[in-house]
Amino acid sequence: MTALVPLPVLLPLLGAGAALMLSKRPRAQRAITVGVLAAIVVIAAVLLVAADQDGPQVVWLGQWKPIGIALVADRLAALMLLVSAIVTLAVLLYSIGQGMTGDESETPVSIYHPTFMVLVAGVSNAFLAGDLFNLFVSFEMLLFSSYVLLTLGGTAARIRAGTIYVVVNVLSSMLFLVALAAVYAAVGTLNLAQIAQRVDDLPDHVALTLQLLLLVTFCIKAAVFPLSLWLPDSYPTAPAPVTAVFAGLLTKVGVYAIIRLQTLIFPGSPLTDLLLWAALLTMLIGILGAIAQSDIKRMLSFTLVSHIGYMIFGVALATKTGLSGAIFYVAHHITIQTALFLVLGLIERRAGSTALLRLGGLARFAPVLGVLFFIPAMNLAGIPPLSGFLGKVGLLQAGLAEGSWLALVLVAGGTLTSLLTLYAVAKTWALAFWRSPEQAHEMMKLLPGTGDSHTEEDAATPQLVRHRGHVHVGSVAFGERDLAEAKRVADADEPDRDLYQRVMDGSLPERLPFSMVGPAAGLVLVSIVITFVAGPLFGFTDRAAEDLMERTPYFSSVLGEDAP
């Protein structure tokens, strides 16, 4: 079985090379990339079973034991690998359906597929890395391809967003290098298992410095408050499938690295208070940001930040149930967040915009889209019996079991965040799906400075009430300034056209291609399946958390007889 371990990294890299060579033949390119990702799904599933039954699967590359590079697939890594493989496959199929490979005028033809493959290789490598420098290299692989994907086409908005993203991430890479130099100077190795054994001999302050350095680095990647402010600025401008895979996977790689760091290397110094505060602030500030947004993409980016807080909550508790809940939540959240962004891409395609002010009535003329949005949105908010609810219950129970006052505050904060998430997605639902496009259009027309033909129509529309400078539609009220600002910034290409006008023009696509709806629906289905297999999955994450707490399975399989 160990022969399979390097394949999730090797295959996409080879696939990237092949795809680059075949850039003139899109069909062959697609066949290769889809084939590679499908193979990784199978391999990851086999590794998952093997890791569960026979313990961690370890490969020392080139047999340079113990000074070379180790790849380790234990229960946690294998689970992450499987979930990420499924998600990336769905995103790839979706982007093929969208015609990212050439039909879209602003996207370069040939580089999407190879870059995506390198991204997948980087993500897999990060999960498998048994060596801190290898982890750094995999971060660079996935970051570099993410730079390219984020600025695809080089439009003004993407360059603006990309600048912030690239600079923040390069800086975090530099921090990582500083941490690596410090770790090497302190313990003379970069192998995770060896660091873990030698770190006990270090003086406390040195160990704490190393831990904080690494923690800050990983928290930037994972977007933990206050290191999360780059994320909502940079994600929403990318093409929908790119945003989907970033939102689903890249932050979770950071969370994974935090879990490894806290359980494997520094189990004696859980920093519970610090991390709990960070988790609380991440949850609350993230979700408050989400409520303030008037664009669905940005709203979802903020909920992404917010829900990272749940995972950090589980890690911070440093108990078996806490870790188990965090791992479950990571698996759940990867699928759900990616599915939501894919559906958002469908909305953008169908309705021409994701700005809340321009949308309306989607539930009526795209009912399938409504269902596809509704299920993951409710799942995100944690409505029973969906997996989001189960994951949150697991985490909150772990918090109650821990019992300190701060953990109880976190339990309350987590519940509040869940409710506010429900509010945010319900607002989206009410505005984009429930009201009629005419309502949205009439409301837009009321905005100052949006045309001169609207004044006589004001009185004729019963749904709209102008009252002391506010615009009311049904029970939803907006300040005029809100509307004007949001209207100005939303959809810069065609500032004066909303869904209603597009419908009247007949400029909207009649229906969505199945090749786009299929993958998105597939991911929604996966998230429902996670709900149904939640029992066995929680059993699995319990065992994974047990491994992490004990550490001996990791040591003995990586270092063999050298283990203590």
């Binding site: 420098f133 600025t151 003004a156 360059i159 600079v167 100077a185 300040g479 300034r481 809100d482």
Partner: protein, 144 residues
Amino acid sequence: MQVNLTLLVVVAALMGAGVYLLLERSLTRVLVGLVLISNGVNVMFLVASGRAGTSPIVGSSDPDGMADPLPQALVLTAIVITLGTVAFLLAMAHRSWQLNGNDDVQDDVEDSAIRKLAIDDANSDSYDLSTKGQHEDDPVEEGA
């Protein structure tokens, strides 16, 4: 572990200058700052590798007197990665200059819109229904 003080001073100088440049608004300066920081980090690896020695090639000298080769390998990798990053950032700065006529790092549009909202109507208009308009034009809240 004995530390070479000269190298440490070089690291500190490079890092300090790099951080200063990083805080500038122009992307080119940010880029130069990142290059300085990365060079500082690379020198830091030399500090971490301990005392200098002979070249680490098997058979050329006594293994006990060799320098530690691993940090050098790490530095090489870091240099390659930095090179790629710098090339990419340069391309971005150029593209930004093509599009805007400058390479300044810009504010987020929606972010500044929301910030402006917060300043302009601090007593959020959106919640007017519940208070029946009583707080309208309250100067205290607007200033807050």
